[in-house]
Amino acid sequence: MGTMANSSTNTLQVPGPATKNPATLFKAAQKPMRVVVTNVGGSTLFLAHDTESLTNQPVLTGTYVLPAASGAGSQAVIVLAPMQGLYAVTLGAGGVATIAVSEALPVT
C-alpha cells in the first residue's frame, strides 16, 4: 500500500426522509478525503456529516442540499477531515447518489 490512499467510486440508493438510517456515502480513515457527490436520483438530496441532522424532522438545519437531478445532476465537492463521515437522505423516494473519492492532499 503506497502513501496515497486509493481513490474509489460508488453509487448508492438513498432512503427517504422518514428513515432512521441515512445512507453512508463515505467515511474518511486516517487521511483527509475529497468527495465529489452528484445527485443522480429524482429527488432533492440532503447531505450532512452527522446522521442526527438527517433524521430529525424537518431536515434543513445542519445539512447541505443538492437539488434534484435534471439532466446533468447537481454536484458538490466536499472534503472530509480524518474519521469524518458523509451521510445522505432524500426528500422523496428514488434517491440515488454517486460519489468519486480521492485523497484531498495527495502525497505520492
Binding site: N6, S8, Q13, N21, T24
Partner: protein
C-alpha cells in the same frame, strides 16, 4: 490457543470473548446500491474485534415479507446477491468489485468466507456492506406449486454476520 495470535498491538491478549456482528436487509429483485445501516457493522465497544469469518445467508420471502415455506436451493439464492464490502476505518475494500455470495464462500458444506488470518476492527471502525440483487426467478413457495405461483418469491432477506472474538488486552486502555 492454537495458531491464534497471543499479542495485539504489542499487548498480551488475556481473554477472547466470542462475538458476532449481524445485520439483516430486505431487498427486492434487480436492485443496486442498497446498503446496511451505518451502525450495523461498526465496532462500538471498547475492545478490539478480531473477525475470523463472514457468514452470508439469503432467504426467500413472499410479497408480505414472510419466509416462503418452500425455499429455492440455497446455492441459487446465493447467486442472486452481490456484496461490496469496505472497511472505512482503514479505507480498504475487501472485495475488488461487487462479488456474488457464491464466489465468497468456500462450498456447500462450509458456507462461510473464512479468513486464514484474523481481521481487526478497533472502536468506531466498521464495515460498509452494499448489496446488489439480480432478477428473481419465478418461484412458488407453496408445497404444491401452481401456475401462476400462489405464493411467489418477491423479496430476499440478506443476512451478513461477522464472527470472531472481542479481545481483552492487558493493560486495559480507555481508547481500545
Amino acid at each position: 490457543m492454537g495458531r491464534l495470535p497471543a499479542m495485539w498491538a504489542g499487548r498480551e491478549i488475556t481473554l477472547r470473548v466470542p462475538y458476532t456482528m449481524e445485520g439483516e436487509l430486505i431487498v427486492m429483485g434487480s436492485q443496486s446500491g442498497v446498503q446496511f445501516p451505518d451502525a450495523t457493522f461498526t465496532n462500538n465497544i471498547d475492545m478490539p474485534f478480531e473477525a475470523h469469518r463472514m457468514i452470508p445467508r439469503v432467504i426467500g420471502l413472499d410479497a408480505t415479507s414472510a419466509v416462503q415455506p418452500l425455499q429455492i436451493p440455497e446455492t441459487t439464492l446465493m447467486e442472486l446477491i452481490r456484496l461490496r464490502i469496505a472497511d472505512f476505518g482503514k479505507n480498504v475494500n475487501l472485495v475488488k468489485s461487487p462479488t456474488l455470495i457464491n464466489a465468497l464462500i468456500k462450498g456447500s458444506s462450509e458456507r462461510t468466507w473464512e479468513w486464514a488470518d484474523p481481521y481487526y476492527l478497533v472502536r468506531s471502525e466498521g464495515f460498509q456492506v452494499v448489496t446488489d440483487s439480480l432478477a428473481l426467478p419465478v418461484w412458488d413457495g407453496n408445497q404444491i406449486p401452481v401456475s401462476p405461483p400462489a405464493n411467489p418469491l418477491a423479496n430476499l432477506r440478506v443476512t451478513v454476520a461477522f464472527q470472531g472474538f472481542l479481545l481483552q488486552v492487558a493493560p486495559p486502555s480507555n481508547n481500545r
